[in-house]
Symmetry: C2
Subunit: 106 residues, 2 copies
């Protein structure tokens, strides 16, 4: 659930969004994109939650891997649907993860 | 809801967590910490959502601002409670936001 990413540095793409409405097609597409992202070279993991806003963070080993994923044909179509149908507002932030620490209650 | 952060570069702290249980004290503390973070120098905004996992991202103008906030006396107590009572697992990632883009449906 919490991604077991490698030691930094690596990259994070923070996708924060507000959806316009419930749409079954959205859920199918989101699930498909999740599966497709996992198959991409350089994919390291992802974390996601939604209440009023949705936050999805995907982790990648390079900027090139992020660029390839952004330009994936099926993903381009999903992005287009996203802008036309699903999202009122979204923001994408490309980040270099410099440090991390973790707590695990045993 | 989606933070209106300044032009990159700036910093993001991604806090991903799994909680042990519902606890009224947690909600009070989380709300208090949110208010307190906003008063810190260098605070730029935050975004938060929770389903199976919780994701809270806070944005800062420098590593120093992040360090100060981490060491805030009241926040240190909240962190201690977090480890003792509320969290099964959490991960904190300190990131440099290098680029961003946004979509707003009008």
């Amino acid at each position: 659930m919490i991604s077991q990413t490698p030691k930094p540095p690596y990259y994070a793409v923070i996708f924060t969004s507000i959806k316009s409405n419930k749409d079954a097609a959205y859920e199918i597409m989101a699930h498909r994109m999740e599966g497709l992202a996992k198959q991409q070279e350089g994919y390291l993991g992802h974390e996601s939650a939604r209440n009023e806003i949705g936050i999805t963070i995907s982790y990648w080993n390079s900027l090139e891997a992020i660029k390839h994923w952004k330009q994936n044909t099926e993903h381009l179509l999903a992005q287009q649907y996203g802008r036309e149908k699903w999202y009122v507002h979204y923001k994408v932030r490309i980040c270099l993860v410099e440090r991390e620490y973790e707590f695990l209650n045993k």
